[in-house]
Symmetry: C2
Subunit: 392 residues, 2 copies
């Protein structure tokens, strides 16, 4: 479903430093949301050798033990000893968090809740295509599954010498019909214990990570494999690379197949349209494709800070629409309310549902009940029938 004959996407594991930062930011958000759903949270994290720094702007009535949350996230990931390079129990935790500017707050809060203004200006895209069963582009889907599998075989003891930090990259070949037809190249770098040899590591990665995940019919003699191409990857996590919240926004979304507005997700409560409107954009696009109105769809929305109504809503169906384009646009306006208040209400976003979004993609995931709410509610195709009716 692309104009490209080759398309490459990448993903990273939960032990990648930028992803450690994202998970800390979202764990802090969740802890606060659990006690104070209307808190204003913008939490940014930096991790580097021996230290995690949390920063940003938070206004809340909740009291949460931030230091413990940070240590717990790091240990949960598997960074729990000096041997692996980082230890949640003994690293330094520095807190330089401030409060939300009252001038921003006055622009966002309204007497009538429905009129809540956007927490910032900005542009966001949502995307869906029928290329996979989860209505996501195939390259990012398989890139995620590779690093998810790395985590699984690390945790379940199949490959006990794996360490938490890993990256994957998949180059798909597309046919003239725009359908994926093979895998041209796979890159996988994984952190490991010093006692595993490179040849053994490469074989194990192929057998236990790559083969179980990638469709056999897409692998051929032409497929190129790059497994730990640097030869050695014992040093990983924050020692090898400084991690920052919001630095994996293409991994978090569509792997480069769709456009991106630039806003990060993790650490932000849903009054920030960077997050909530990008989730809504995915929800709209997925419902359009689920309704059969197009097989590929990208939506752009934009906001002005303090304004409830989007400054623009725009739709691209790449010539794949099954009814006239303006009928789809009209149906979207009928069926979806894209004011921040309405998005938060319709997707039920004021709950501690964010930490799981910080790894392996915010989109293309199965919704499930978490802490009394639906996590990944934006993946529901609950408006497809209404869209179909409105467009016909």
């Amino acid at each position: 479903m692309t104009e490209y004959s080759l398309f490459t996407s990448e993903s990273v594991s939960e032990g990648h430093p930028d992803k450690i930062a994202d998970q800390i930011s979202d764990a802090i958000l969740d802890a606060i949301m659990a006690e104070d759903p209307r808190a204003r949270v913008a939490c940014e994290t930096m991790v580097k050798t021996g230290v995690a720094i949390i920063s940003g702007e938070i206004t809340t009535s909740a009291w949460v033990d931030l230091e413990s949350i940070v240590r717990e996230v790091i240990n949960d990931i598997g960074y729990s000893s000096s041997e692996v390079g980082f230890d949640g129990a003994t690293c330094s935790v520095i807190n330089i968090i401030g409060k939300q500017s009252p001038e921003i707050n006055q622009g966002v809060d309204r007497e009538k809740l429905e009129e809540q203004g956007a927490g910032d200006q900005g542009l966001m895209f949502g995307y869906a295509s029928d290329e996979t069963d989860v209505l996501m582009p195939a390259p990012i889907t398989y890139a995620h599954r590779l690093v998810e599998r790395q985590s699984k075989v690390r945790r379940n003891g199949i490959l006990p010498w794996l360490r938490p930090d890993a990256k994957s990259q998949v180059t798909l070949r597309y046919g003239a019909d725009g359908r994926p037809e093979g895998i041209d190249a796979v890159v996988l770098s994984t952190q490991h214990n010093p006692d595993i040899g490179l040849a053994d590591l490469r074989e194990a990665v192929i057998e236990e990570i790559i083969r179980p995940v990638l469709p056999a019919e897409w692998l051929s003699k032409e497929t190129k494999y790059f497994i730990n191409p640097t030869g050695k990857f014992v040093i990983g996590g924050p020692v090898g690379d400084c991690g920052l919240t919001g630095r994996k926004i293409i991994v978090d979304s569509y792997g480069g197949m769709a456009r991106h507005g630039g806003g990060a997700f993790s650490g932000k409560d849903p009054s920030k349209v960077d997050r909530s409107a990008a989730y809504a954009g995915r929800w709209v696009a997925k419902n359009i494709v689920a309704a059969g109105l197009a097989s590929r769809c990208e939506i752009q929305v934009s906001y002005a800070i303090g304004e409830a109504q989007p400054t623009s809503i725009s739709l691209n169906t790449f010539g794949t629409e099954t009814v006239p384009h303006d009928r789809i646009v009209a149906a979207v306006r009928d069926v979806f309310d894209l004011r921040p208040f309405a998005i938060i209400r319709d997707l039920d976003l004021l709950h501690p549902i964010y930490r799981p979004t910080a790894t392996y993609g915010h989109f293309g995931r199965d919704p499930y009940t978490l802490n009394g709410a639906i996590a990944f509610s934006w993946e529901k195709t609950d408006r497809a029938e209404a869209l179909k009716a409105a467009a016909s």
Copy 2:
């Protein structure tokens, strides 16, 4: 030149906290490159109330006074007193920079210089279209010009009550021919002294910033203006919002009109393909459009860490090509060498040319001589003739 009837892009000024971080990271890179062009630099910055933290991985023989560089950048921007909320002279500067992992280094360095491996895996896009004279999309071009103008009238005393932090956003209306035909909405938020009233501020912003920049024929009675929509923006910079390097990657590139691979630019020496291959991608795409081979062009390249040859090169001309698509692809392969070594050589990237890239866009800028090298060399159309010849 888009399938969208409305398209929105945003930009931010040099006083925006994320841009302060980008400028500090690139100023540090430049100071090191001036003394040690082969240094390995990955410099990440966090700014928050009263503090600038520099982090990342640097391996160099140069000695530079990092603290002074940080203070100088902050003061240059205009954050030089407690009154404006941040003071380069008195803020805390914390240095937690480490060294490049020797394991990454061994993967990148090669005995034969030409075989230098990519400093990381990743995907990058380059883009150009004939929508503006600088061969950039119009929305991001005008969004940049608005905040550049904000800086100009702040510095030259026309609007002395302006403060450094500002954001702009432009929604363009496109006609059926895919050409911009009007401006639907303009958002501009600017930090200001407490003594200017909102009505006066709005009028001055329209007269001195918006009108001098936006084409009069694109403004009409239907154009919506959102100027300081929160009503007050005295608190700005790092006090109002934590700033991080690499958090404005869509502002830095094509404003969302092109796809993005996710890699940030600032603070990275050109052995990092996130930066150098994105620059090369722009150079290739711009030369294709300048050669008249297409009026709109997007290129994707990808790399494996430690490998010199890209793992994929792929081209999208959106149906605007004037010669068959595979002839353009072949011409690109003939005329451009996209190994890291060759990019660095051909664009002459081992010089202190980076700080100016950290504000108002890395692309669509005029090349000029800076510190003995060409800044923005990737904007040269010096390969258009060769491309034309190779494709014919």
